[in-house]
Symmetry: C2
Subunit: 358 residues, 2 copies
Amino acid sequence: MKLFRFKFRIALVSALAAGLVSTTLAQTIPFNIQVKPLSPKIINGPLILGKQGSFFVGGREVESNTLSTLPAYASSGNITVDQMYVHFQSPVKAKASSVVLIHGCCLTGKTWESTPDGRMGWDEYFVKRGFSTYVIDQSGRGRSAVNATAINSVKIGKEAPDQLPVVFAAGHESAWTIFRFGSEYPKVYEGLKFPIVAQSGLWQQMVPDWLNSMPTPNPTVPALSELSKQLKKTVLISHSQSGIYPFQTAALSNEGITGIISIEPGACPAADSDLTPYIKMPILVLFGDYVELSARWAPRLKACRAFIEKTNLAGGKAELLVLPEIGIKGNSHMLMQDTNSIQIADILASWIEQRIHN
Amino acid sequence: MKLFRFKFRIALVSALAAGLVSTTLAQTIPFNIQVKPLSPKIINGPLILGKQGSFFVGGREVESNTLSTLPAYASSGNITVDQMYVHFQSPVKAKASSVVLIHGCCLTGKTWESTPDGRMGWDEYFVKRGFSTYVIDQSGRGRSAVNATAINSVKIGKEAPDQLPVVFAAGHESAWTIFRFGSEYPKVYEGLKFPIVAQSGLWQQMVPDWLNSMPTPNPTVPALSELSKQLKKTVLISHSQSGIYPFQTAALSNEGITGIISIEPGACPAADSDLTPYIKMPILVLFGDYVELSARWAPRLKACRAFIEKTNLAGGKAELLVLPEIGIKGNSHMLMQDTNSIQIADILASWIEQRIHN
């Protein structure tokens, strides 16, 4: 098996600093991760599953008398909302730790399946790598029901229009810059690895997002906590808007969580917050390329850097990997769909295998 | 392999009748279907896939200036709507005909996955039986985006509340009778085979239904037509609200459709309509138990019976299977989740294998 070897850096902060917000004298200690690529034979071969299936976690009953404005369906009754859809596949002989793939804004679990240009998704990669793999649809997204009764309440005049839910759809043009395909639509960054020729396959994946109408905390977080407890040992892998969820889940309880990989998080926990929930588990925060060109993402990377430094100062094991810093260039925000998506998966899987004692 | 053998009936209509709506002198010719159960060894063994993945069919660009009411996301831009999500799994050596599983009202492709009590779903059964299996989310449901921009238009006062979409959610209580679990919630029909103890697992599957706000024809139908053409040979298997879709798809074009199985359809094509699109392919309409006890379903079965008789009179090969008529009792409307779901799948798979020349 061909091995790639490179260095990436763990930031350790000088313990000299005092106070909650301090100037950090960051020290970096280089260390090696041996990236073991999954063999082409396995990637291109059949997928052998010991088990697959789907189920829901969480949910609550809501009574409503605006379920319907149609005579064929009763307007009054109970519905179940806030549950989280989970689809899983397990290899015949699975590693001790499973992985949970958590999609981001305006998307569903489809994020991790076949790429827009038809290559294998990470949902399958991780199974072929030996991990039981759980793909969720966030509460209120995709196959996880949203509570739409307020629409009917307003439609029949029972509530005012300002009581309508906050629902947004990311347009192709704004998604273009948020996903860092280029500085503005339809310009493309030089060397971009997103398969831009198949962009329509990404636009088809996008769904309206009810995030801002969901209860607080977002029901996805307690559902992830319940799922982690069920799984006993799992690595929570989040992306973008859900980037913070594994941390919020760990803050509820560390039970069942063996590690966190947060890919291009919309937010890391604040560096001056209580970091004790995060010091017991290996954490990897991953960013792609072009971050410094983005007014949206550059401050987020900076804040994550501060979080990681503070976490390690408190005794944690947090790492930051910015791909161009190890010579991997051209990755967009949607790096699980970029043309080198398998190379990135190889890094993440190797990190799990070497950092988490199964 | 243990074989079950029973008779079911094809209704052939006397050609004596004249006029569009006529009294039919139905003749029935008994014939044998040899039901070959899938072996427990295969059911309980590993699942070996040659390929799996997901993609979308269809979709159109819509320009809107009410995409968002939030500063973080632009209000103007283009989104893609009406596309249909498709997930597929193929065995290493697949039969010539694939199958497409099309869910019904208020549900998603989850319908066909693990049952609420955790047994194997039909999505996996058909793959283990040798069929490439395609599971869709109807346009505007689940992972197939809905166009939610009208909500924002009303929220900001640009449109009147009556312009809000028609969105309904089936409450547990009304679904109870629609799904024929009992005469009324929470009464249970004697001998019911739905795993009522796990009912919460069904309620978690249900999502708001935008069906009545979709364009006409429902974009799922042309998307199914495009999918059938891509697949070249496929059996469209529909359920309930989508029961009519395979027929509407065949009316667009027969290309790629090798057969139709319509499970408890909300409607069959009208018996006095143009039946020529349906005479070239084997058709099976399937109903469960307790139909005559349901004011909703009894007339639908009757109308399907008339459609089948007329189709056969016109030279078609349509069959009606009402499970209690062959001694299989206790099946609800959600028979793919009933405790004898594998027995029903065995019948359908055997029917495909024996009626359709692969």
